[in-house]
Amino acid sequence: MTSTKISFRFMFALLVTAFSIYLVFFLNPDGALRILLNLLTFAGIYGLSAIGLNVHFGWTGLLNFGHASFMGVGAYVTLLLMPHAAGREGEVTTTGLPFFAALIIGIIAAALFGLLLGLPAIRLRGDYLAIVTIAAAEIFRLLVRDLESITGGVYGIINYTENFQKYRPLFIDNFSGNLGFSPSQAWVCLAAWVSIFFTVLLLKRLTNSPWGRALRAVREDEDAVRAMGKNAVWLKLQSFMLGAGIAGLSGVLLAFNYGSLETTVFIPLLTFYVWAIMILGGVGTITGPIFGSIIFWVIISETDRLAYLLFENANGQQLAGVRFLLVGVLIMFLMIFRPSGLLGKKEELLLDVK
């Protein structure tokens, strides 16, 4: 493995990403920038989540299919701690913590939920862990939906965006006005990419550290890790917590991007989206999910065209159908033909976690 090879892969990923952004401009002569902003906001949020998932699966080999619940815990805890309105009657809670305090508690809550979900991982092999994590995520979703008095249930939570938007710097308003952006979405987008930036910095710092090394050793062979005097269980739990914390942050951002929070956001499909992004970008890489996410969202946003080709006057349902259909094809195709993704190293292609 030489450095020139890495940079070649990196350049390739960069090129594909640039090309997909160019496609947006090419296909949308009008309003390309607005589409791009929307797309980059989602790409940032989902990319961040995929980076967290990569800590689980790519670094530690944990088959986590309950990622949506980490995002959900982060979002719900953060929002409920701040002033908001919830439920059928839109019951208003005026008191609450300031945004940053709530966010930190939300992230910690997500990490602790990661710890809880990580406990089965002590005992269970890969495919069983997949079933348990997806089931636990469903339990979380069903409970949130059912505990209407606290979470707003199916009616969701509203009136919380101001907690975050009041920190919006003035320059965003100025420049959004010029470009026809929604300033609040621009602020969420910026926050997402700043979060990605710092998360990547953090992970870069960790990946080649003794701790990151230890996680990868767990992924490779747990028995050997234990034979070297290292506590593999604790390492797995730490990995679960870190990845879940990152997912929690992305969940909060997702909530602010939507402007209202509903339980239907955190369905298993959300997890599968994040998986698709991770595999596309490259399992085990740090920056891979970023590229993966942008390309993924370009594909998603441009599939509408495909839908209009297939169906005259496609309705929302048909648009969604075509989108998800492509996600399924993408996951299958990548897993079969390029499991290492865009940035993944071929040497790390062994995907058979035990």
Binding site: S209, P210, R216, A224, R226, A227, M228
Partner: protein, 256 residues
Amino acid sequence: MSNNLISVNNLKKSFGGLKAVDVQELSFKEGELTSIIGPNGAGKTTFFDLISGFQDADSGSIFLKDKDISNAQPYKIARMGMVRTFQLTKVFDRMTVMENLLFSGSNIKNDSFLRSFIKLNSQKLYESNLREKANEIMNDLNIGHMANSYARELSGGQKKLLELARSIINEPEILLLDEPLAGVNPKLAEDILSLITKLSDSGITILMVEHNIEAVMKISERIVVLAEGSLIADGIPNEIRTDSNVIEAYLGKADE
């Protein structure tokens, strides 16, 4: 039992109805190089699994340095200075040879999340010392040129060497070697044998399971023979070679 580093009493383990290990009493002295031999299915690897904590015994006790480790977690036993290798070599495939060694050599404090995040100068120093130590060991074992290769690119013999290097980087007191010569070519086997002798001379207590009897006879100070889980002979190589029980266990009797 001052100079008995490891001792086991009434150690029993069976799988289903099959008795895998049934050892009344066995102990190993400090500094000794002992080989455990026996025909297939004699329970040698299970014996290793039991004393290194990878399997729990059905009954009986194991003492390491006078501490009861009968049901201790493997990593705790390893931290007490007893490190093992595996019959089927277990290297960290998708990590470089250097990373394999650094991981194994690094202590738990150094591995902590917080330290890894803060990266104090003391940690950087520790890591660079570790790197030096790893380089030394790799050069000693002739895998220095592979330092930056992925472990999975190594040949079977090189993997054995890497596993050995990984086990000794922490300067263990006791080394359990499970078939260190399996699948290794004769030239390399020589090298590994002289390395084992060297380690033994430096004072490390070594227990070794090995099928290459010639090698075992050559380097062992003591040989323990297991058959069907039980101890059938225990002595110096010359005694073992002429022991009728042993010959029978290996070659069987012509008529029974």
